[in-house]
């Protein structure tokens, strides 16, 4: 229904509308009208750039996930700070993480999360989207890292994405 | 406010925009619309010339903002003259281009028209920074045109041309900045007022800025030692482009003439006649260099390209005399040399297309298909260019010689100019007799037939020399009046008092 009205990506349109209200100097008649126009127009123009609809099944899981990630970022930063300021040379390792997620967007979210959270950076996604190469800053136990990532992040994402 | 003043800018702009849209339309449509644009432009410049003949200054204030705050166009005789000379040249170059030269890329006509737009802005603007913008418009279009036509010959000369002009643009901005930093204004008339009031250490700042600006203009005008980019660039450009470029160095000359009579003119206080003592000797050296280059040329187009430098030297020498007579003579010469050199580039191209691999090289080659016609055109063109009677170049040179007053300057000017003419005659006669007469047996399998557009274009530009002779009286009267107007900077300054539409005042 939304797409027939010219809103091929309703979530995008909604996001655009809301962001526009924030960008404008307070919500007014003008900003609502213009925001609506933009929420309609911009997805129209950029429609071709969204070839597949993101396969969200349970988008309401997202806020909880984001909150967890945010908290992990803070702790990650503290952890990394300690590592950085410590004199010892870190014990780095590359870890191949077997992916269960299949959707590229989901993989991207997982990889981003890994990069922002303690001690790990996503270095590469294999060509077949099956393996994620992770660089761990300071670890002794690769399997522990894999398990931790799977438990904390991939599982919720698997729930969110089909 | 007379809206005719923006016609020479808007016509090519709109014509150029149309060309951008119709890049993939049939070439005949593109040619037709482009030629219509050029004809309209020519018509508008004739109107402006008629308007300017009443010796008044016409101001066009963009956005209806009073000078010195907004940008103004100023039409006076000099501007009108430059516009007309350009439009006439452009018309014939454009006509020539529709024979074949425009086929290399779909953007040719757009670039050509934008080039004209830039030139026309430069001639009309009354604002120093807008002059910079105009220079950039015409330069970027000229870069595109210079590279038009594929092949590898133009790349390196084009690169040199572009890089040097980019450095020149930086210098232009520095100069404008220095002048603005003291005077706080950009309008040329206002600058004339403010520069005359500069005192103290500020004088040095403006002086340095003004001198650097002179270097910028000298680069555009191709004055020694800043002229070496020109011969190869012009000689390698596509014919109608090279021909159109005959006006490009004149933009530098125009700018020198405008800025250094108005802003740094006789009444500019401590900065009066800035740089003029440099101009004259450098002009003579440029002239001499041009002559040497012409003599040593190995191709017709190189020879003509050096003729451009000879022209520049001659023009600046006349301007460097600093008198009204000198300026008037220079303007007369400018008309002649612009058209003739343009025509010669076209002739050289026609020659090159009939000589197979020898092209326009000054070497023996099989006989041309249209040898008589081309040789007559070349003869007339070189007579006019070298300044021999009875064509226009002679009258121009005569005016310049007469403009000198007895003294050392006259001795130098006469000596260099006359000896230069002598060597030029030798160069042209040598080149012409080898190219046209020294034939080997055999023939070029596929020579290009002369078509009506190129014949008319080249013939007319060269033939204009005769027209100039026939109209020498009125033309010299016009240039006299132009020079008189130009040397009366106080009259120009009055444009600051122009009322705006609807009585809008500052």
């Amino acid at each position: 229904m939304m797409s027939r009205l010219g809103f091929p990506q309703p979530y995008l349109s909604l996001t655009l509308f809301l962001v526009w209200q924030l960008l404008s100097d307070g919500i007014s008649g003008g900003s609502v009208v213009l925001g609506a126009v933009l929420a309609w127009l911009i997805p129209q123009i950029t429609r071709g750039f969204w070839p597949q609809r993101p396969a969200f099944i349970k988008p309401w899981h997202l806020p909880g996930y984001l909150l967890r990630v945010l908290l992990d970022i803070v702790s990650a930063s503290v952890t990394v700070s300690v590592l950085i300021l410590r004199a010892r040379e870190p014990r780095s390792a590359f870890i191949s993480y077997p992916l269960q997620l299949e959707h590229p967007l989901a993989i991207t979210i997982l990889a981003s999360t890994i990069s922002l959270t303690p001690g790990t950076v996503s270095a590469d996604v294999s060509d077949d989207n099956k393996t994620l190469l992770i660089h761990a800053l300071d670890t002794d136990d690769e399997q522990a890292v894999i398990d931790e990532i799977h438990r904390r992040y991939e599982k919720p994402l698997l729930e969110m994405f089909q | 406010m007379n809206h005719w003043l923006i016609a020479p800018i808007l016509i090519p702009l709109l014509g150029g925009i149309v060309q951008v849209f119709i890049g993939y339309a049939p070439i005949s449509l593109r040619r037709t619309l482009a030629m219509i644009t050029t004809v309209l432009l020519l018509a508008s410049t004739i109107v402006l010339t008629v308007l300017a003949s009443d010796d008044s200054y016409r101001v066009y204030a963009f956005g209806n903002w009073q000078p010195p705050f907004g940008i103004v166009l100023v039409l006076d005789r000099l501007a009108a003259l430059m516009l007309l000379v350009t439009a006439v040249l452009a018309f014939f170059c454009h006509l020539y281009s529709i024979h074949r030269a425009d086929e290399g890329s779909r953007q040719f006509h757009a670039l050509f028209l934008f080039q004209l737009m830039g030139l026309n802005i430069a001639f009309l603007t009354g604002d120093l920074f807008n002059l910079f913008v105009a220079f950039e418009v015409l330069l970027i279009a000229s870069y595109g045109l210079l590279m038009h036509g594929g092949g590898t010959v133009r790349t390196v000369p084009g690169l040199h041309y572009v890089v040097l002009n980019l450095a020149g643009s930086a210098l232009f901005l520095i100069s404008v900045g220095m002048i603005y930093s003291v005077t706080g204004t950009l309008n040329m008339a206002d600058l004339a007022v403010k520069v005359a009031q500069v005192r103290g250490d500020d004088v040095f700042l403006v002086q340095a800025g003004g001198m650097m600006l002179l270097v910028v203009f000298a680069l555009k005008a191709a004055v020694l030692p800043l002229c070496f980019w020109l011969p190869k660039a012009y000689a390698s450009a596509t014919a109608p482009v090279a021909a159109l470029f005959a006006i490009m160095t004149k933009v530098g000359i125009y700018a020198i003439l405008r800025v250094y009579t108005l802003i740094f003119g006789a009444s500019a206080g401590p900065l009066a006649n800035l740089g003029m003592d440099w101009l004259f000797p450098i002009a003579l050296v440029t002239l001499a260099m041009g002559v040497i280059g012409a003599l040593g040329a190995e191709k017709l187009r190189t020879l003509i390209a050096w003729q451009v430098i000879i022209s520049v030297g001659t023009l600046l020498a006349a301007i460097g005399l600093g008198s009204e007579e000198g300026t008037s003579a220079a303007l007369f010469y400018l008309i002649n040399t612009t058209w003739i050199v343009g025509g010669l580039f076209l002739v050289a191209d026609m020659v090159a297309r009939q000589r197979g691999s020898a092209a326009d090289g000054i070497v023996t080659a099989p006989r041309m298909h249209n040898r008589t016609f081309l040789s007559v055109l070349f003869l007339l063109g070189s007579v006019a260019a070298a300044g021999l009677p009875p064509l226009s170049g002679f009258f121009a040179k005569l005016l310049i010689l007469k403009a000198a007053t007895p003294g050392l300057a006259m001795a130098w000017l006469w000596g260099v100019l006359l000896v230069g003419s002598f060597v030029t005659v030798i160069a042209y006669s040598r080149a012409g007799s080898i190219v046209f007469w020294r034939n080997v047996s055999g023939h070029i399998a596929e020579t290009e037939k002369l078509t009506l557009p190129i014949t008319v274009a080249a013939g007319s530009l060269i033939g204009l020399s005769v027209v100039i002779v026939l109209l020498a009286g009125p033309i010299s009267a016009f240039t006299d009046a132009t020079a008189a107007q130009l040397h009366d900077a106080d009259a120009y300054i009055q444009i600051l008092q122009t009322p705006m539409v609807g009585g809008k005042e500052s």
């Binding site: 970022i73 930063s77 990394v80 996503s122 | -």
Partner: protein, 110 residues
């Protein structure tokens, strides 16, 4: 401006500055490219986020509205930092930059 706001701002500023500095120290002193990648990706991003937040608090407490642009910048940085890190890591692996001797499991050795 309330005292709470002032304290919040000051703390956020200092936290932001601290993490920014730590990120840079990491970049400067960690032994190889991949270890250096960690500092900016996490600490610096967070540090700038904190500074942004202080700005949001600062201007909103002055009654100049919520700084949406600051938030936009922060979100943007959080979204892009992992991607930047990812493609830089890919580039580094491609080139085969040196790693510390202790690094295990270098994929390009295999």
């Amino acid at each position: 401006m309330s005292a709470v706001a002032e304290y919040t701002i000051a703390v956020l500023l200092l936290v932001g500055g601290f993490f920014t500095l730590v990120g840079a120290i990491g970049l400067a002193r960690l032994p190889d490219f991949f270890t250096r990648l960690h500092g900016p990706t996490k600490a610096t991003t967070l540090g700038v986020g904190a500074v942004m937040l202080s700005s949001v608090v600062f201007f909103s407490s002055r009654g100049e509205g919520v700084g949406v642009v600051e938030i936009l910048i922060t979100v943007f940085l959080f979204l892009t930092a992992p991607v930047s890190a990812n493609i830089l890591a890919k580039a580094a692996m491609h080139i085969g930059v040196g790693t510390t001797g202790q690094t295990r499991g270098k994929p390009w050795d295999q």
